[in-house]
């Protein structure tokens, strides 16, 4: 699946997108974050405060507990500040 990062998450992780292939037991965005954190230190720093992180699955707003079944694109980003 494709994982996207925006704003300070993108900066802390050092890239805007990547293709990952997590194991089957990574079933939710929360589990995906834990899996990413287990791989590299920069994800630990980026996802230190998950309460400040929003998630979208296939460009639809989702929750950290939403199922990732069939997901092609998962995006993590801070609360929006446009306008």
């Amino acid at each position: 699946m494709q994982v996207l990062y925006f704003a300070w998450l993108r900066e802390r992780i050092g890239k805007g997108s990547e293709t990952v292939d997590p194991p089957a037991d990574v079933a939710t965005p929360a589990a995906l974050i834990d899996w990413l954190k287990s791989r590299e230190e920069r994800y630990v720093a980026a996802f230190q405060d998950v309460s400040a992180v929003k998630v979208a699955i296939d460009q639809k707003q989702a929750d950290m507990t939403t199922s990732l079944a069939g997901a092609r694109e998962v995006a993590f980003f801070p609360p929006v500040t446009g306008g």
Binding site: R10, Q59, T81
Partner: protein, 150 residues
């Protein structure tokens, strides 16, 4: 297209004309323009980031929501992305209706929803070289909540 995300500046008068030219059923046009603010001299540049695809979809949904709530003859939403300077235009919302109340309310609604539901992020750079991401404000969420759930 009534919803646009672009790096280029926009011309408010041209956008109004695009909505109203050739029709006499519009009695009220309300525009809101957001500018890069630098009230304390602490911002040298503001950079806007968005989520291509999802941002446009959210703006289109917000427009549809406004059209469902008020009788609108036309809606335009333009949001710029990329690097901007203080006093630059960031965002334009136009609501056109037969009467002013719908146009005023719809323009306010569009901005309140845009600020809390469309994927944009602002980063401010200061003259001394520091840069920081702008925090979301609870007052913006409260402003959006006042329109109630749908």
């Amino acid at each position: 297209m009534s919803v646009r995300v672009q790096t280029d500046d926009f011309d408010i008068n041209a956008e109004i004309a695009a909505l109203t030219n050739g029709r006499a059923d519009i009695g009220a046009v309300v525009t809101f323009t957001g500018l890069v603010r630098d009230a304390e001299g602490s911002v040298s540049e503001m950079t806007l980031e968005h989520y291509p695809g999802m941002t446009e979809a959210a703006l289109t949904e917000i427009e549809a929501e406004a059209r469902a709530r008020w009788p609108l003859q036309g809606v335009t939403i333009i949001h710029r992305v990329g690097p901007l300077a203080p006093a630059d235009q960031i965002v334009l919302v136009i609501a056109a209706s037969r009467h002013r109340q719908a146009a005023f309310e719809a323009a306010a609604f569009l901005m309140d929803y845009l600020k809390t539901r469309a994927a944009f992020w602002k980063k401010e750079a200061s003259p001394d070289g520091d840069a920081s991401w702008v925090d979301a404000r609870e007052s913006d969420e409260a402003a959006a909540e006042r329109w109630g759930r749908t």
